[in-house]
Amino acid sequence: MLDLQFARSNTFRWTLMVAGVLAAFILALFGFIYWTIDDYLITRSDRVISAHIDGLGGLTAERRLEAIDERLRQDPRGVQLAAIFAADGRRITGNLESLPAGLNIDAPPQGVDIIRIDRGGREHQTIRAIARRMGDGDVLVIGRNVDEVREISRVVGQALALGLLPGFCLCLLAGAWLSVRAQKRVEEVNQRVRRIIAGDLRERLPHRTADDPLSKLAIIVNGMLDEMETMIHALAGVGNDIAHDLRTPLTRARLALERGRTNATSLEQLQAVVDKAIAGIDQSLTIITALLRLAEIENSRRSAGFGNVNLHDMLREVHDIYEPIAENKDIALQVEVERPLTVRGDRDLLIEAVANLVDNAIKFTPDGGKVSIKLLCDGSEPVIRVTDTGCGIGEQEREAVLRRFYRSDKIRNTPGVGLGLNLVAAIVRLHGFRMTIHSGPGCQVEIACPDQPD
């Protein structure tokens, strides 16, 4: 299957095309070389035979015959051709059987077919020749075998066969190999992706060295898969937490109702039981509301309801709202503003975030403590800092407090849903701000609000 498929793959088609173009180019190059050399050799031959015929033409008839004999004898390569024909066409001397047909007399050198007779038989050759009529009416023919040209063309052809054909084959092989290899890898990736789709979240894509693009892609995709696996596990964890946190109050409600139905003997008792049940159901509903709110914020787009928010006014408002609550617990709630600062954001959400932080701070600070809301400028960034003198958040709990439903063991008996900081974190993320939690003697939460380009 694979053997046939590679021929249809893109890699292979490309290789084939490139190889074809290369071959055509090389052919053209060789053709050019051949043509140039051919031209050069013919010009040279023509020059030589023209010079000879000029030389021989100036001699007497006897000397001419001697010169021709001499010339033919001293030609080990057998490239020289010469003959004298009488006016009636009879051969007087030389190695040509007859005056070549089509050879123009007293014309520049030209190519003609002749029959050569000096080497023990008749031999057809194509030569360059020139003919001239002498003073006595004889026709002198001087020729030169341009076999060298054919030799060169043979060499060029051989070179072509030796170079081009194997090269072309090599190209095809390389193309086939590359495409088969690519196909194998794609097939492997396909299989693994199918396994991931089927639910095997631990599967990863194969990769070799970091330098090849496919491996780079695989590494990036693997990174994404890691992230997704973590998120899916986290989600499953959140699901469990939600189930647990919803079940607890519902169980209480159910138990109360069940026991009340059996044991209550008066209307007052039954009402007490029902009140307890309603409280349990309300607690579950509060959790659902908080979760939906969290999802709403996490899914909303930035800048939907964004405008300029005066942080100082906002903090004063939060202070006004929480001041009586703090006073009830004998906590000093202070607001300090270095200078008025403005950020782009959703005022309602930002109030919600700061209110949550202040709410937490007051909740976790023992009576007689202190909570301060500060607006300061760190470099060019406005920073909102909420500090309390409560129990603080331990180093190992910093990450955990941002998890849903996380409630520190230290505060198990304080009422709450355990989603407050998640809400704050979601709002902060939506704005592109940063939240950091420090811990000294108490707890200090900072929201840095860098300017976000819209």
Binding site: T289, N356, N360, K363
Partner: protein, 225 residues
């Protein structure tokens, strides 16, 4: 007797609401789908309507929109299982006067119904008076009898809201929405703390109390103690 039209497709929920409103002295008419509800709204001219958002036939918001186009100004309370802020804003923009997310406490529904039926008329008066309690909306001052009451801005807003709706039950959620402009429910019992302070100022020692806490429901400013 106030006539209320309830358009709600869940029979059990409708039954409970009908029974509760009937107990409170309302005359309740019920319709289980949007088209029939719209017809009833046109024919029987109720004093107020309670409309569920998701209804068979025609959805609740379309019913309200249609009525508003016909210049019907009947106050409408929208009920919905969709609780997101955007849904709420949409419900109010389409002509609803108040919006309540399911599930809700029945006292919340009744309180909001009463509030819709007894919406204070826009008045040009610059002072409000309930029994001996009096506030000046321009000077931002309050007094009970001859005793002047020092109020913070938000306390003044709270008192003004309550005086405009004297003798009505005001739930915590209503107060949060209207006085604090909160679109979320804070973890702490904010309203109670603020109300406690206001009550402390309004009901001085020796005065008969005017601000009453209705257990599990909310608060009432009563003219006659």
């Amino acid at each position: 007797m106030a006539k209320v039209l309830l358009i709600e497709d869940d029979a059990e929920t409708a039954e409970e609401i009908k029974a509760e409103l009937a107990d409170r002295g309302f005359d309740v008419e019920w319709s289980a789908n949007g088209i029939e509800g719209l017809d009833k709204a046109r024919s029987s001219q109720p004093d107020a309507m309670i409309v569920d958002r998701l209804l068979p036939g025609m959805d609740g918001l379309t019913v309200i929109e249609t009525l508003r186009k016909e210049q019907v100004r009947t106050p409408v309370l929208v009920l919905s299982a969709l609780g997101a802020v955007d849904d709420r804003v949409r419900g109010l923009r389409m002509g609803g006067d108040d919006y309540l997310t399911k599930p809700f406490a029945i006292v919340e529904l009744v309180a909001r119904m009463e509030a819709l039926l007894r919406r204070p008329a826009e008045s040009r008066e610059t002072t409000l008076k309930v029994a001996t309690l009096e506030i000046d909306l321009i000077e931002r001052t309050a007094k009970r009898g001859d005793r002047a009451i020092e109020l913070l801005p938000r306390e003044f807003r709270l008192l003004e809201y309550m005086m405009r709706r004297a003798d009505q039950l005001l739930t915590r959620a209503m107060l949060l929405e209207e006085v604090w402009n909160y679109k979320f429910v804070p973890a702490t019992n904010l309203v109670d703390v603020h109300m406690g302070r206001l009550r402390h100022k309004v009901d001085g020692p020796g005065d008969p109390p005017m601000i009453h806490n209705v257990r599990g429901a909310g608060f009432i400013l009563k003219a006659v103690p």
